[in-house]
């Protein structure tokens, strides 16, 4: 670090301060004529010089301290605002820890969450008349003309409905429940990029399970 620059400024400023004081005191010390030109010049010049030298002293001291802080010699000054923001930050962290601890201790098992989710979704998928759930004939149903089937292009999730009976005739006419995925657009035009056959829900649920196990959080949902 180049301290000579600041030392030179400080020394010259201190010399100027001393010279200003001396010029103010000279008329009294040497008995100059009262209100004479020499006395007025000494007072005015000495007073102004003392003020300028004081300002210069302050400037050089501040500049040197700033340089020392920038070089890491002096510790960084902590301002009132940063102190206040530090207290606010500590309070927010305490609040976050206090609210997060019960969640961590009572974190549910992802497998248990998935089981509960299955139990919750299965009756919903089986229910009829819902806005999100529609039924359609299964793959064994007679095929309709492909031109008049705009419903197949909609993004839907297909899960097999619970088998109502065990006899072969009824099982052959088992229906599939199609659930429209939330956020997907209706209509063949906006969903035209999707595959014509809707994906089954079981792989999706397995994928969701993998996602949850991978992230370790229920926030994946």
């Amino acid at each position: 670090m180049n301290a000579g620059r600041y030392l030179a400024g400080l020394c010259v400023s201190a010399l100027g301060l001393c010279a200003g004081g001396w010029l103010v005191l000279t008329p009294f010390a040497f008995g100059y004529p009262h209100r004479g030109r020499a006395a007025v010049t000494g007072f005015a010049t000495g007073g102004g010089l003392a003020l300028v030298a004081l300002a210069a002293l302050t400037c050089w001291a501040l500049a040197w301290r700033r340089k020392l802080r920038a070089d890491g010699v002096l510790a960084a000054r902590q301002r009132r605002r940063s102190r206040r923001s530090g207290r606010r930050q500590a309070r927010a962290e305490r609040l976050v820890l206090a609210t997060r601890t019960p969640e961590l201790t009572a974190a549910p098992d992802p497998a248990q969450v998935l089981t509960d989710l299955r139990a919750l979704l299965t009756p919903l998928l089986a229910a009829e008349g819902s806005a999100l759930i529609r039924t359609m004939p299964g793959p064994v149903a007679p095929a309709e003309p492909a031109v008049a089937e705009p419903v197949l292009t909609e993004p839907v999730l297909t899960v097999p409905a619970p088998a109502p009976a065990s006899d072969g005739q009824t099982a052959s006419r088992a229906v599939q429940v199609q659930v429209q995925a939330p956020g997907h657009l209706r209509g063949s035009r906006s969903a035209s990029f999707l595959a014509p056959s809707p994906p089954p829900a079981e792989p999706l649920l397995r994928g969701a399970e993998l996602l949850m196990v991978g992230t370790g959080e229920e926030e994946a949902w």
Binding site: R5, G9, L15
Partner: protein, 75 residues
């Protein structure tokens, strides 16, 4: 900003020293051709010391600033 104010104050101190040297003759409390009075002698002496010190200090500070600029220039 502070460094510039410090440099400007050094210039002002130098000008004050120069003014102190010239003041006895400019304000005519030192008549020409007569022995110097105590006030004139004191003003010239203080002014000369101030001017020399401020002159040297200004260039020392300027040299230090230039050295810092060389030290902090990108490679």
């Amino acid at each position: 900003m502070v460094g510039r104010a410090g440099m400007a104050s050094l210039v002002i101190i130098f000008l004050t020293g120069a003014w102190l040297i010239a003041a006895p003759f400019a304000l005519r409390f030192q008549p020409a051709g007569t022995p110097w009075t105590g006030a004139a002698r004191m003003d010239v002496l203080v002014g000369a010391v101030l001017a020399v010190a401020a002159f040297a200090g200004f260039f020392v500070a300027l040299a230090g600033q230039v050295r810092e600029m060389y030290a902090s220039r990108p490679e």
